[in-house]
């Protein structure tokens, strides 16, 4: 925990210090300090440079941390509640629903509109609500598997609708893709303010349930025998994870891979208990996305790489290395 906390701090510091604009680390440090209440210090930066630090780099780093934490935690919680290692935060149709909402908003009012995150959020929540009610109607109250299948069906349907809308509006295709591949590039404090309440609610509810997830992991019948009602726990965790994921998707688009890989990496490091996995997923998820975003905006100089490409491109091999070394350790 201490190590991952240190990694997060180092990543955050690097994200604030490094960027296309060459600013001296001392001045950047002073600039950040000058925004601490009751600290009066002059960084020596001109207004443009201080805007770069305080209105672009810092909120972007904070948003990456919030989104990374929320997605990783939601992914870990889903993996626990469905007892399925392939579960990720987009399992029940969040991505497809948000994608459809955002695409409709982009083609009708344009990518710069404040309606895009709202439409993405509504689409995400709507998709999961549809999957949940369909899954329950099909007898899924007692089994997570039916719920997953309902989610797959809803996601396929919504993705088809999204693709159709997008093909009918080929002039918006670049904006739609840039949203689908995830983006933190236009982030400012307003996105941070938008995201924070969802992250707080989601983290609080899931952390409260983390012991019950351990009970659930021994099997649904066994959990029931121990007095836990799996469908209750599942409903609470799914709602909390959905709210957090929908918020993340609304402000940053579809950033893949974080939610599935970070909890697994943590599990390989600390073992199978959700009491340990979930809090560590928050810290490691933040650090991972802050680093990924740093790469996304600095690897190709002043040009940006879609962050979804970085999370998969860097995250995939990293995950394989962790998998390999941990296996070797077991044997």
């Amino acid at each position: 925990m201490a190590v991952s906390g240190a990694v997060l701090l180092a990543a955050a510091a690097a994200a604030i210090l490094i960027g296309p604009a060459a600013l001296s680390p001392g001045a950047v440090f002073k600039e950040v300090l000058s925004h601490v209440p009751f600290v009066h210090i002059d960084s020596g930066l001109d207004p443009r440079q201080s805007a770069i630090v305080w209105e672009l780099r810092v909120p972007r780093m904070v948003l990456a941390a919030l989104v990374g934490a929320t997605l990783s935690l939601a992914g870990g919680a889903y993996q626990g509640v469905f007892r399925n290692p392939l579960a990720d935060p987009y399992l029940l149709g969040v991505a497809a629903g948000a994608g459809l909402g955002a695409t409709v908003a982009i083609v009708s009012v344009g990518s710069g509109s404040a309606l895009v995150p709202v439409a993405a959020f509504v689409g995400a929540i709507g998709a999961v609500a549809a999957a949940y009610s369909l899954g329950s109607a099909a007898g899924g109250q007692r089994s997570g598997a039916t719920l997953i299948l309902a989610g797959v069906a809803v996601a396929a349907f919504l993705t088809a609708a999204q693709t159709f809308v997008q093909q009918q509006n080929a002039d918006s295709i670049r904006e739609v893709y840039s949203w689908i591949l995830g983006r933190l590039g236009t982030a400012g404090w307003s996105e941070v303010a938008l995201m924070t309440p969802y992250a707080v609610v989601s983290v609080t509810v899931i952390m409260v349930h983390r012991r019950l997830l351990d009970v659930l992991s021994v099997g649904e019948e066994e959990a029931r025998a121990l007095g836990v009602r799996p469908e209750r726990v599942r409903a609470a965790v799914v709602v909390a994870a959905t709210v957090g994921t929908a918020g993340a998707v609304a402000v940053s688009g579809l950033i893949g891979f974080v939610g599935i890989v970070v909890p697994h990496v943590v599990r390989l490091m600390v073992g199978a208990s959700y009491r340990a996995i979930l809090p560590l997923s928050i810290v490691c998820g933040s650090a991972f996305l802050v680093i990924a975003d740093l790469i996304a905006r600095s690897a190709l100089g002043p040009a940006e790489i879609p962050i979804g490409v970085i999370t998969a491109f860097v995250g995939g091999p990293f995950f394989l290395v962790v998998l390999r070394t941990s296996r070797r350790g077991v044997m």
Binding site: A21, R48, L56, R174, T186, V309
Partner: protein, 304 residues
């Protein structure tokens, strides 16, 4: 599955940004015989046996050229974006980004012009015996003038094509000759959408800004059509900001100023944020004169 989807998305994004007017990898084939008289004619290696009477245009640029050279009455269908001149807007439209060979062939055209071939459409039409020419986006103004000549030749109005090219060349040269000498070139940021996609000086549009004595800040990102980071744009502090995303994406000088950190930009504070018509700035047809005049006035004032 996800990885596969990502590859595919990246490829499509690259393709679409490329077709928005990028320098063509293939260059301008030299097999066009501009001064050939009478049919058959050969344009870019495509043999056109007879004077076309049923022309299909899959490109808004070439629709404008066809009407400007007087071949408009023989155009029977255009792509969805052909909205100029008004006669073209009234014609049947099809989706040139997802064209169907069969759908185009059903129109029984005897000449098809495209600016973008999403996958063997030209080859498919050629196999059906329909002469199909793909005009890639030119690299600079000369390439556009050459396409005026080629379109005229293909449509059987070679003299009108050559005349349009010469007149446009002369008018634009007349506008450019008045561009004042500046101590250093003005820098600019041309915005394609609200996620900071931009253009480099090496693109067709960039070559027009270049002719007006301006250099793109996106050149630092290697030119082409890069997505810039907000931090870079703010630190580059361009002299001018051109918004090519007012109609598509609802951007305006006011929304630009409201972006985090952007209120500190010199161009924002001095009111040098210019809305550029999206159709004018993404086509290379006869209305280039309007685009050059508009940009020259926006940058150097009414004296040009």
């Amino acid at each position: 599955m996800r990885g596969h989807r990502l590859h595919w998305l990246v490829a499509v994004v690259a393709l679409v940004s490329g077709c928005a007017g990028g320098p063509a990898a293939t260059g301008e084939p030299g097999s066009t015989a501009i001064d050939a008289a009478g049919f058959p004619v050969v344009v870019r290696g495509v043999v056109i046996p007879n004077r076309p009477e049923r022309i299909v245009s899959g490109s808004a640029t070439h629709t404008e050229i066809l009407f400007a050279v007087g071949a408009g009455p023989r155009v029977i269908a255009t792509d969805d974006y052909s909205d100029f001149p008004v006669e073209a807007a009234a014609l049947p439209h099809f989706d040139a980004f997802n064209p169907s060979v069969e759908g185009i062939a059903a129109l029984e055209p005897d000449l098809v012009v495209l600016a973008f071939d999403p996958g063997d459409v030209a080859a498919g039409l050629a196999a059906l015996g329909i002469p199909t020419i793909v005009f890639d986006a030119p690299v600079a103004l000369d390439g556009a003038y050459r396409q005026f000549e080629e379109v005229g030749l293909a449509a059987g109005v070679g003299a009108a094509g050559a005349e349009l090219a010469a007149a446009t060349r002369e008018e634009i040269a007349g506008l450019l000759v008045n561009v004042p000498e500046t101590v250093r070139p003005f820098t600019y940021y041309h915005e394609l959408d609200a996620t900071y996609f931009s253009i480099g000086s090496d693109t067709f549009l960039g070559s027009i800004y270049g002719a007006l004595g301006m250099v793109s800040i996106a050149d630092a990102a290697g030119g082409g059509y890069p997505q810039l980071s907000a931090e870079f744009i703010v630190s580059a502090n361009p002299d001018f900001i051109f918004l090519g995303d007012a109609a598509c994406c609802g951007q305006s000088p006011a929304t630009i100023a409201a972006r985090p950190g952007w209120s500190e930009l010199g161009a924002v504070q001095a009111g040098r944020v210019v809305i550029v018509d999206e159709a004018l700035s993404s086509r290379w047809g006869p209305r280039l004169v309007e685009l050059v005049r508009f940009l020259a006035e926006a940058v150097y004032g009414g004296g040009v």
